[in-house]
Amino acid sequence: MTTGLKGPPDVGVPVDYRAALPSGPRRLGTRRAVLLLITVTGVWAAFHLQLDPRGLIPDGGGLRLAGRFFGAALTPALTYEASFVPEGAPPFLQKVINAMAVTVSFAAAASSLSLIFGVPLAFVSSQAWWASGDEGAGARRVIHAVGPVVYGVSRVVIGLSRSVHELLWAVLFLAAMGLTPLAAVVAIAIPYSGTLAKVFSEMIDEAPRDTARALRDAGAGPLSVFFFGLLPRALPDMLSYAFYRFECALRSAAVLGFFGIPTLGLFIRESFTNAQYHEVWTYLYAMFALVLAADAWSGRIRRRLVA
């Protein structure tokens, strides 16, 4: 052999490796089909949106703007960038810290609300909740009659609450009664409750069942089995996911600033519109700091609980 490749080891018996390969005409495998589908729909989307590669080339002004924006990343503003500062405005950094505090408080309030609604919803939309234990015949009949209905309704509630983005909930509230802080919190909490319920119910259903089975065999009632046998096994995952959702809530709270809530998003938008890119970066760094802190916290909890 002249190539650098070594052949298969000589085992003494001639082996026809081709026999092991699939024969006949090549079928279109699942993965290939999916990749093909992605490519085709991608091309369709590009044509539908009339995406022209020439549109990607910014003119001189656009390039200068990008340069100024990314150049400002190294020197975030520490004081107001504008030459005119209204009377009585707090120092710039004070304003940033206030915005951070408001963002955190919205995220915390929305997260707590979504837990209050999401956890019971998760219970009734998990299959384990309705798995019949050793109740009496009457109770079993009731559960068999009510269970599927409640289960189905809770699944629909989860689907509907999740399918409308928190910003659209905010638009709805804005139109219905004006976006008060409480309405903004509820706007975040609605889809978040749905997501928590969906993920929590999956975690409960996927939790190891051995403890639950042992408790049931020892004669525990269905509620005891659920709360002391099943739930504790899913709890670490649920807690770490709840903390992750808090991180997401921080981002959502920031975005709600677009509707005038004084979170970081409002000031990012204002400063961007005024082309005060140094200020934009200060707010962005403030956002990164919040998200990183939440991420570090949830990461430590995950390592403590799950590992």
């Binding site: 490749l5 989307a45 539908h48 549109g55 990008a66 709805l172 802080p181 409480l182």
Partner: protein, 315 residues
């Protein structure tokens, strides 16, 4: 089998003893305390009072909204007896006028963005994975590696990972602002904003998947003399593809939601018409478009779930 009183007492004492000796997680307790404190302080100091939301002005607003949210033909007195057909016509006109084209635009935007994000992630995944982007990919035994090569590869990994972090750290709406003011009003800013942000997320997830790949096959290929790119395309890619596709579709679900919302920034997806209807005070149209957006999201979720199941069940 009943226990005597002293047996019961002994058992109780045992349980008490076990409970006293259970492992305590101080960090977890401190975290729980901090979380509860944060929530309480937020509710107390955040100004989320319900008196404001229940003020008479807002309740009047709400009452008006509840009448105006009904389909327009139902709000008019002179619709006549054929209410159902009038509502049907109302819905059909909304769909034909803006709804369908905006729905398709939303869908196309999400697809274009996620395909671009996937391509971006695919390019950056390999240089960001420490087992592929290494001076000795998958630990090839018996080669001498010069330190410079090692530094070079570390540099490549740091660069790729830094780029991915940068892409996903900046929120999509900031990317959208930026591209919008760079490129002007067209579809690209919205597509790019979603693509860059999600590309950062997908690339990071992908790099993790590649790093966790079972090294037997890549090592065997390496031992047979395959180059780095050959190992990556023939040994790693087929192994990680299902996982990558799962993440791809999971992020696409998010993209559909975000594509709707980006309309609030001016791109003519559903969000644009939702906000437009709100500004014009046509709450019936607004709710109709919100419902349309919700049904697209639901359809996207179902399509994604079906595809993910197909991928998971394949071979």
């Amino acid at each position: 089998m009943s226990e005597s009183p002293e047996q019961l007492a002994r058992r109780r004492a045992e349980v008490k003893h076990l409970r006293a000796r259970r492992p305590r997680n101080w960090f977890g307790r401190a975290s729980a305390l901090l979380a509860v404190g944060l929530v309480v302080v937020s509710w107390l100091a955040g100004g989320f009072s319900s008196s404001d939301i229940l003020s008479s002005r807002r309740l009047t607003n709400l009452r008006r909204f509840m009448t105006e949210v009904r389909p327009y033909p139902l709000q008019r007195e002179d619709t006549g007896p054929s209410r159902a057909s009038a509502v049907w016509e109302w819905a059909r006109d909304l769909l034909a006028g803006k709804g369908l084209s905006a729905a398709w635009a939303t869908l196309a935007l999400s697809v274009a963005a996620i395909v671009l994000a996937g391509a971006l992630a695919l390019v950056l995944t390999l240089p960001a994975a420490r087992n592929v982007a290494s001076a000795e990919p998958f630990g090839l035994p018996g080669t001498r590696v010069v330190p410079a090569a090692r530094w070079l590869w570390t540099g490549i990994v740091v660069l790729a990972r830094g780029l991915l972090t940068f892409f996903r750290a900046i929120p999509e709406y900031v990317w959208a602002f930026l591209f919008l003011s760079m490129l002007g009003p067209q579809a690209w800013p919205a597509v790019l904003a979603l693509a860059v942000h999600n590309g950062g997320i997908l690339g990071r997830l992908g790099a993790e998947v590649v790093e966790n790949v079972e090294p037997a096959v890549p090592r065997a290929l390496r031992g047979l003399g395959a180059g780095r790119l050959q190992v990556a395309t023939l040994g790693v890619f087929p192994l990680v593809l299902p996982r990558l596709l799962l993440y791809f579709f999971y992020r696409w679900e998010t993209c559909v939601r975000e594509a709707t919302v980006l309309g609030l920034l001016g791109f003519t997806s559903l969000g644009y018409w939702i906000d437009d209807a709100r500004v014009r005070g046509r709450y019936d149209e607004m709710t109709f478009f919100v419902a349309l957006a919700a049904s697209i999201v639901l359809a996207g979720d179902v399509a994604s779930a079906v595809t993910r199941r197909v991928i998971r069940n394949a071979d």
